[in-house]
Amino acid sequence: MTVKIITVGEDILGANEEKAKANKKRLDSHNILTINIMSSPGAGKTSLIMNTINHMKSKARIAVIEGDVASSVDADKINEMGIPVIQINTAGGCHLDANMVESGLNGLPLAETDLLLIENVGNLICPNAFALGEDLRVMIASLPEGDDKPIKYPAMFADTDVVLLNKIDLQPHLDFNMDAFTKTVTKLNPDVQLFPISCKSGEGLGAWFSWLESEVNSKKNK
């Protein structure tokens, strides 16, 4: 039998990209600012979301999609705050994809939402490869992880719109070199917005809230 070569030349994740575009279109039709929050486990994604809800809930209607390998621990916390939340368990999967987010959107009151926060699975390797339909990507790095994380996971830091450097209240106890971190991040990603914050003490969160508020408003008025 003769062997035939078929030229494909297509992105393997093309199907995910298509689905992400469809999600984006759907979210755009409701003028919802959608944020994909990524970090390693324990950097403070849920704490950031809870702080953001507390500050922003009087100014914007918020909904949350929680991605976790297992459990509904995070979604339960958000639910207690009276915020619409969908928990997605990836059953061992290391990232959210556009398909999972689509099913999440089906369970949320999109017509009554201004800001959608999507908490990705805690992982610095692959979530950036899977578009979800978000407007903005926010990465949280934290001081205990060390200032060399951007060197070890360059693609994650190069692909994000915002870096929140969390747990700055721990600076006196750690050898974290703030200058080295900032230098590496801005080198990989010259346009990045970098906010040093502490979800524990509240330090620096004001700058993040104002920035987010103006993004929500500009999406609302589009």
């Binding site: 070569i5 078929i6 494909v8 393997i12 994740l13 490869a129 060197i151 190069a158 990989l188 010259p190």
Partner: protein
């Protein structure tokens, strides 16, 4: 009651699992369009920064392609090195260290030109 842990392959879905699933369905779609009976080889381009481990893709592929016309196909992985462009002097270079320093001007910001690829170049069918 003791529940033995399930350590089966389908329970451990690393990102390579979803990539392999997408890759297999793309290959089957293209082979179907060409009315092929069998896929013998799949040629893939994988960038250094894509975070995709070839051995892992091969492992999942052998498992999930079993009952398809792609069963037994060999996977060829061509690795694309990381290439960066210096935003100050425009030089395109492959980084030799973690710092990703431009060899000419040493300090400017960079842009990733290649290294993130994850695509299917072609398939070979019968």
């Amino acid at each position: 009651m003791h529940h033995p842990r399930d350590r089966g392959v389908t329970r451990r879905k690393m990102h390579e699992f979803s990539i392999t699933q997408s890759m297999l369905s793309l290959a089957l779609e293209k082979a179907g369009e060409a009315k092929a009976n069998k896929i013998t080889r799949i040629n893939l381009i994988i960038g250094e920064l894509s975070g995709v481990v070839a051995e892992c893709v091969q492992f999942y592929f052998d498992y999930i392609s079993k009952d398809t016309i792609a069963s037994g196909a060999s996977l060829s992985f061509e690795t694309r090195p990381t290439k960066l462009r210096c935003q100050q002097c425009d030089k395109v270079f492959s980084p030799t260290n973690h710092e990703w320093l431009c060899p000419d001007c040493q300090q400017a910001s960079i842009e990733i030109v290649s290294g993130r690829e994850c695509y299917m170049e072609s398939i070979e069918v019968e």
